[in-house]
């Protein structure tokens, strides 16, 4: 029923690389602000400097891989669209 309802609307949203890039930049900006806040908390309120350093390495490595993955797909899509 929901599918039929969606089909009845004459809506077409073009998924352009520009839209995806804007979305990527928005997420990257949120990630940057969030990272600064959590890093501050770990550094200032953490009980061990070594633990804080370890968790920072894990967090930034994981984030880097995920954002890099998103960037790769964005680049591929942009190339194909061009």
């Amino acid at each position: 029923m929901f599918a039929a309802l969606l089909s009845s609307f004459d809506i077409s949203i073009p998924v352009t690389p520009t839209i995806l890039m804007s979305l990527f930049l928005l997420v990257a900006a949120i990630w940057g602000v969030f990272s600064m806040i959590v890093r501050y908390h770990w550094r200032e309120y953490g009980t061990s400097a070594l633990e804080s350093a370890k968790i920072s390495v894990i967090y930034f490595t994981g984030s880097g891989i995920l954002l890099f993955g998103a960037a790769i797909f964005l680049a591929l899509y942009s190339l194909n669209a061009a």
Binding site: A3, S12, I13, F24, V27, V38, Y45, A70, F73, N80
Partner: protein, 204 residues
């Protein structure tokens, strides 16, 4: 930063039991599984009628998958930070109770170890008994309300440890009093005035 003195030393850090994270882990598992659910739903929903792709749709899918996983990753670390910063810190002088609620609300209270009057441990139920966690209630001297820490790992061991710290603090306090009293005992005693009090035992 934890507001301890320069000459104060952290002797133990106590966190809640890992079981408190189980609910959060389930939320994260559900969040990670969400793209799969959407993928299945995509077969039944006419997404192609709504979205117009310029290139291959799977690349857009991959892009959104990685963005979603980045968001889940951040959320996971938010939950972990909340757990990690919720801590009981025992120094050689005081006990700090730090409660972190989200990122922008933090409560920190402290009391001196030598002010502890009673420590009660409460382990309720099968889960707490087998996984060795429970509630610690600490009564301190003064009008301050009891200090209560829930879901603490190894509560009996913590109680024993706090009792030992209390004994050491009491011994040190006695030693300081004794050291202060000793030089006074070594000096010449002040002359005693003639007592006229009949109850004075020095008057034979």
């Amino acid at each position: 930063m934890i507001e301890i003195d320069k000459n104060e030393r952290i002797v133990r850090t106590v966190r809640k039991h890992w079981l408190v994270l189980v609910g959060d882990v389930f939320i994260l598992i559900f969040a990670i599984a969400m793209p799969v659910i959407l993928l299945v739903a995509g077969h039944y929903l006419p997404i192609e009628n709504i979205l117009t792709f310029i290139g291959p749709a799977w690349q857009v899918g991959g892009f959104f998958l990685f963005l979603w996983l980045t968001a889940v990753w951040m959320f996971g670390f938010l939950l972990w930070t909340d757990y990690y910063l919720d801590v009981l810190i025992v120094t050689d002088k005081r006990v700090f109770d730090i409660q972190q609620h989200g990122l922008f609300r933090r409560e920190s209270s402290a009391f001196r170890i030598d002010r502890i009057q009673n420590i009660t441990v409460e382990v309720k139920g099968v889960l707490q008994t087998f996984l060795d966690f429970g509630t610690i209630r600490i009564e301190t001297a003064g009008e301050r309300e009891d200090f209560i820490a829930n879901y603490i790992s190894h509560p009996y061991e913590i109680k024993k440890f706090l009792n030992e710290c209390q004994d050491i603090a009491a011994d040190e306090s006695q030693a300081v009093h004794f050291a202060r009293a000793m030089p006074a005992a070594g000096t010449k005693a002040p002359p005693q005035s003639q007592s006229t009090n009949p109850s004075d035992p020095s008057i034979a």
